[in-house]
């Protein structure tokens, strides 16, 4: 039976069909839904790990123990997991091991658009690239066979477009039997990666990649579709769809395995066509390999060579996501296609207001950013919803790098002797991810960094995943919760306090006191994410008392989407008064606390007013 599945659902389905027994991951857009779907299949173990390295180590352990295993993460997660990837590439495994890297061309939700196919070449492991959901399923299954046949981890490279596009998939009701239990290996030379063994293993894995190169010649997902011999396209991943759409007449060599490459297949294909081009997203990964093989690629009559970076691509851009419009434009510029006869639509020439994502109404992070902006301190931010504290009018973050970096970056600035007092802000899940060792460093080396852990009781930005602080696992089991305050004390920081994230005065008072003390401090601002079902039950919209509001605009500085300027002007100052949209307001009272005139009714006041109005009726 065929069903519409997203690429992520299809990978999960393929993993289940392939008999995967253990899966571990850290959530990250666009990879998150793979584990969420996999966890619901019968007879599997699936977990959220605190970070990607732990996730990959867990999958490696399961594969050593003879069970097919899966680790999934976004592209930058592979940087965190790279240490584990490289030793597993050296050791090999007892049962299939697949690492899914979900890359993010165009950086829809990421800090960079690194092309993780480079990791396959770097670690000498095969890289498979699906081009739709059916292939995501099929290549996941093929990856396990490849992994076991060649004793290697396999990189399955997805991209945002594949992860979040739904296409038809032939679904299977039956599952391959999971491999039976095996005794844990006692193979010292293979699994103990000490120098004496590693030197021998390096030779093994170099031979392995040569064997894989040979295997690639007949790998069933490397396909040749001969049409016109005037143009041949070597392509992989979602770019293969653009190739078929934009060049319906061209011959296509579609690589399901983009590393290592089938050299003979490519050379034969190249001989059969007059012009050969490579169509791939991001890095010239395949293109560079073809050039190294000495294959003559068509450069285009009006190529982008004048702006070309070293090792850049000849026809298509090295940055961003492709689409049929971009591919067609580049092909026309290169002389591969005739310019269109119909006119291309002009871009909208209005200066439209941008609509950036914002902290939601009722978000517990808002109060802290409002205060940090007011205190004018340098703030080192981290990865999560609270990255949105950078957006106007909060403007409260000055650096953001990678997961867990806030604390050590602040520490670095502090020990460098920067005259300002440095603050790090980090969410609960990001703190568990890689914030803990950095905070340990602050304690150990005694810098005066103030760390604010914004504990909203969930992994928020990726869509509410459980984490070590929530007391529940991915598969819904009750478990222990990290006591963040006790953890902070145990690493040697005694200046630690937990306050409600909605208590503006308490946060302000604490921060101002701590600014005077020259020692490490940790403030935990705790309140559950306002989008959680339990938080939604407490929604109660506030309102503005228009007799008191004088349009001073201070409440606009908290950047709440529920507050805006009303049509009504103040009688004397002629400034627009504030208004609150009752369909958006949750009643968090942050605006009511910052209003200097008490013109915004608190929940209790709003309730009393509405009750009195009822009585009058």
């Amino acid at each position: 039976m065929k069903r519409l599945l997203s690429g992520n659902e299809a990978v999960a389905h393929g993993a289940w069909v392939a008999g995967v027994a253990v899966a571990s991951a850290y959530p990250g857009t666009p990879s998150t839904e793979i584990l969420e779907h996999f966890a619901r299949f019968p007879g599997v173990y699936a977990e959220w790990a605190p970070n990607e390295k732990v996730a990959l180590d867990v999958a490696i352990g399961a594969a050593y123990a003879g069970r097919r295993a899966l680790a999934t993460m976004k592209h930058v997660g592979v940087n965190v997991a790279a240490d584990a990837l490289f030793y597993a590439a050296m050791s090999g495994i007892e049962a299939g091991l697949v690492l899914v890297s979900a890359d993010d061309p165009a950086m829809h939700s990421s800090q960079n658009e690194q092309d993780n196919r480079q990791y396959a070449k770097f670690a000498r492991i095969p890289c498979l690239e699906p081009s739709d959901s059916q292939q995501a399923k099929d290549l996941t299954i093929a990856a396990y066979d490849l992994s076991e046949q060649f004793d290697t981890p396999v990189l399955l490279r997805m991209t945002t477009r594949l992860c979040h596009t739904s296409t038809l998939v032939e679904v299977s009701e039956t599952r391959l039997p999971p491999p039976g239990p095996k005794p844990y290996p006692r193979n010292y030379e293979k699994y103990v990666d000490i120098p004496a063994n590693a030197r021998k293993r390096h030779l093994v894995i170099e031979q392995r990649i040569r064997d894989l190169c040979e295997h690639a010649e007949t790998f069933p997902f490397n396909t040749v579709e001969m049409k016109s011999n005037r143009l041949g396209i070597v392509t992989a991943g979602v770019a293969a769809q653009y190739a078929r759409e934009v060049f319906p007449e061209a011959s296509i060599l579609h690589l399901g395995m983009s590393y290592p490459l089938p050299r003979k297949l490519i050379k034969e294909f190249a001989k059969k066509v007059e012009k050969l081009i490579v169509l791939e997203e991001l890095d010239p990964f395949i293109e560079s390999e073809l050039r190294l093989m000495g294959i003559d690629l068509f450069e285009g009559v009006d190529s982008l060579s004048d702006t070309r970076m070293p090792n850049a691509k000849s026809i298509f851009p090295i940055t961003g996501e492709l689409d049929p419009g971009i591919v067609r434009f580049c092909a026309e510029k290169a002389g591969l296609l005739e310019p269109p006869t119909t006119h291309r639509p002009a871009a909208v020439d209005l200066n439209l207001p941008v609509r950036p994502p914002v902290l939601c109404p009722g978000c517990p992070h808002r109060s802290t950013f409002y205060l940090l902006n007011k205190l004018k301190v340098p703030v080192n931010g981290d990865i999560g919803c609270y990255s949105l504290g950078v957006i106007a009018p909060l403007n409260a973050i000055h650096t953001i790098g990678a997961m867990g970096s806030s604390i050590a970056v602040a520490h670095g600035a502090a020990v460098a002797g920067d005259s300002e007092r440095h603050v790090a802000v980090i969410g609960d899940s990001t703190f568990f991810h890689t914030g803990v060792p950095a905070l340990m460093n602050v304690a150990y080396n005694q810098s005066n960094v103030i760390t604010i852990i914004m504990d909203n009781r969930v992994t928020g930005m990726t869509g509410h995943q459980e984490n070590p602080g929530t007391g529940k696992t991915l598969q819904g089991k009750e478990t222990c919760e990290v006591d963040i305050e006790a953890l902070v004390r145990s690493i040697g920081i005694d200046l630690v306090k937990t306050v409600s994230a909605y208590d503006v005065a308490a946060i302000e008072k604490t921060l101002k006191e701590w600014m005077k003390l020259d020692k490490p401090a940790v403030l935990i601002t705790k309140e559950e994410c306002a989008l959680l079902p339990s938080a939604r039950q407490r929604y109660y919209p506030l309102e503005v008392n228009t007799e008191i509001c004088n349009g001073c605009t201070i409440c606009f500085r908290i950047g709440c989407p529920a507050i805006s300027k009303s049509e009504q002007l103040h009688e004397v100052y002629k400034r627009p008064l504030a208004k609150i949209d009752p369909s958006l307001c949750t009643g968090c009272e942050i605006c009511a606390q910052v209003c200097p005139r008490n013109a915004i009714l608190f929940r209790q006041q709003a309730k009393e007013k509405r009750e009195q109005a009822e009585v009058k009726k």
Partner: protein, 208 residues
């Protein structure tokens, strides 16, 4: 009046849905994709979720054809633009084919840049004039208003699906079945009502 109809059996149809995170564009695009599959076509549905869901500008795309390759639509290639918000209609109007159908929810959500006083929301005259430069085939639907009358602004997306269905030569039943598969049982009656109201908006509409 009789609106121009799309016959998906005769020619491929590309849909671009635009709106603001949280308005239900993804559910609507899922339904459109299911309807295409139900009609015996190939369909692909592309969305991006993540950071932009937090009140940002969002789009999703659906393509129907006997065989669909690219999941993305090139600028100027969308047969139908379904905008859940007026400003987002203007932002993505250059995706529409010359003379394509623009179905616009007559509703404004001020972005934070506007509510914070750093930018101006374009006036209705500017919005209408800009859209008219790309197509004369624009329909304004009181999606939000109808949904509020039904007691739940969250069914605006299904009102718009109802309106969309009036332009496509497929049986109403196929739309209702796809909605039933995507909507929880307890909300089904409300969603069916929303769909009917949206469909009637077009069937008895005086615009464009």
């Amino acid at each position: 009046m009789n609106p121009i109809k799309f016959d998906p059996k005769a020619a491929p149809v590309n849909f671009l849905l635009t709106g603001v995170g949280g308005q239900g564009t993804i559910l609507a695009s899922n339904v459109i994709a299911e309807v295409g599959i139900g009609a015996g076509l190939d369909a692909k549905q592309a969305e991006v979720h993540g950071m932009s869901q937090r009140g940002g500008s969002v789009t999703s795309q659906v393509r129907w054809a006997p065989k669909v390759f690219s999941p993305l639509i090139a600028k100027g290639d969308s047969d139908i633009l379904i905008a859940f918000e007026k400003l987002e209609a203007v932002r993505f109007i250059d995706y529409i084919k010359p003379g394509g159908l623009a179905l616009i929810n007559d509703h404004c959500i001020a972005p934070i840049t506007v509510s914070a006083g750093n930018a101006e929301y374009p006036d209705d005259q500017t919005i209408h004039a800009t859209i008219a430069r790309y197509t004369s085939n624009a329909y304004w639907v009181q999606g939000q208003k109808i949904a509020l009358e039904l007691g739940n602004p969250r069914v605006t997306n299904v009102v718009l699906l109802g309106a969309l269905s009036a332009f496509i030569t497929l049986p109403e039943e196929q739309w209702l079945q796809a909605i039933a598969r995507r909507v929880p049982e307890k909300h089904l009656a409300l969603n069916k009502k929303a769909f009917e109201m949206g469909r009637k908006e077009i069937q008895f509409s005086q615009n464009p």
